[in-house]
């Protein structure tokens, strides 16, 4: 499965507010559900999403067990200069994934 999809405009005017949508495939297992044998399935969730715009942190979110599987996070930032927008998800069991998109500012 494509593990993550990031939707952001490829170009923007300087000072324009742009929307970034980040979708990732993750089970978000709560740690409260029993399996078919009655044993509790260990928690396996994403803990944090960070968005860096040319290395500078512009958005971060802490994620919790009540969030659905395959979480979608949408947020806005201001286009300042051409550069790379990179998103990093980290979570339980050493989960880490980074996706980057390029933005051209005119």
């Amino acid at each position: 499965m494509a593990r993550a999809l990031v939707f952001a405009p490829k170009t923007a005017r300087r000072g324009e507010v742009i929307e970034i949508r980040a979708l990732i495939a993750h089970a978000m297992e709560t740690g409260h559900r029993p399996d078919s044998e009655g044993r509790v399935i260990p928690r396996d969730i994403l803990r944090r999403l960070e968005c860096r715009y040319d290395g500078e942190l512009v958005f971060a979110a802490d994620l919790h067990p009540a969030i659905a599987a395959n979480p979608l996070v949408a947020f806005h930032t201001v286009a300042t200069s051409s550069g790379t927008i990179s998103l990093t998800w980290t979570g339980d069991n050493g989960f880490a994934q980074t996706e980057s998109v390029a933005l051209t500012v005119t």
């Binding site: 499965m1 494509a2 939707f7 979708l23 978000m28 599987a69």
Partner: protein, 243 residues
């Protein structure tokens, strides 16, 4: 006379409009769930679809092009000359895997098979469902029609009792749709993932406390044939989101 004819024509038109009050399950969903399906950048099924696209480009693209997949999903299930029986779209993909690509068959409901099926079905998005008129399909389709009206399980319900007689009503908190399979494979919020029409039918069967048929059972192929006939002309919406 002219006025009479016009009135007759109007009546006839009204009659045909009344005759086709079929609606996709999309119409029965909340605006929030509809928004999720309408916008491709919100729809979580795209995680599977993108995967299917990559797999298609990997092995399928040696024989097929993406453009040649347009309209294919509107015609399935279709009759297979070698096996002398109808094949659903996912079975067709799997026979391609084993017959032509020389690879082992993909497991039902596996990410790989769902992804490929979704990619192929998405190529026909917006096209009307067009079941083939192949006479060899007729006995299977008739079997499907029988199954649709047959009562199942401890609750003793047939598909028709909910999806024909009580469509638009409620089963506990959920709206009962007309049961047109227009968007499979779907991303179902309840599953928090993607599943096939057969998985959905198995859900319905265990819902009425019947023992579900196995994946790929001839009964499911027959039902699928009848359902596609029943939904003929409605637009395909893969990848659909359902509650």
């Amino acid at each position: 006379m002219k006025a009479l004819l016009a009135a007759l024509a109007a009546l006839l038109l009204a009659g045909t409009a009344l005759a086709d009050d079929r609606k996709s399950g999309f119409e029965f969903m909340s605006p929030a769930t509809q928004a999720l399906q309408r916008d491709d950048t919100l729809n979580p099924a795209w995680l599977w679809l993108k995967d299917g696209e990559q797999r298609f480009a990997g092995s399928c693209a040696r024989c097929h092009t993406t453009a040649s997949m347009r309209g294919v999903a509107t015609r399935y299930p279709a009759f297979d000359n070698t096996l002398k029986r109808p094949l659903s779209l996912s079975e067709r993909i799997n026979t391609c895997q084993t017959r032509h690509a020389g690879q082992p068959a993909l497991a039902p409901e596996s990410e790989a098979l769902l992804g490929l099926e979704m990619f192929v079905a998405n190529a026909s998005r917006g096209m009307p469902i067009a079941p083939p008129a192949d006479p060899r399909l007729a006995p299977f389709r008739e079997r499907g029609r029988q199954l649709y009206f047959q009562r199942f399980g401890q609750l003793d319900f047939s598909c028709a009792q909910c999806h024909d007689q009580h469509a638009g009503g409620r089963l506990a908190g959920s709206v009962i749709p007309q049961g047109h399979a227009t968007g499979y494979p779907i991303y179902r919020l309840e599953w928090q993932g993607v599943g096939s029409l057969q998985r959905r039918l198995r859900n319905c069967m265990s819902g009425v406390r019947a023992e579900p048929f196995g994946y790929g059972a001839p009964e499911f192929i027959a039902l699928e044939l009848y359902l596609m006939q029943r939904a003929a002309g409605l637009a395909l919406e893969t990848p659909a989101v359902r509650p």
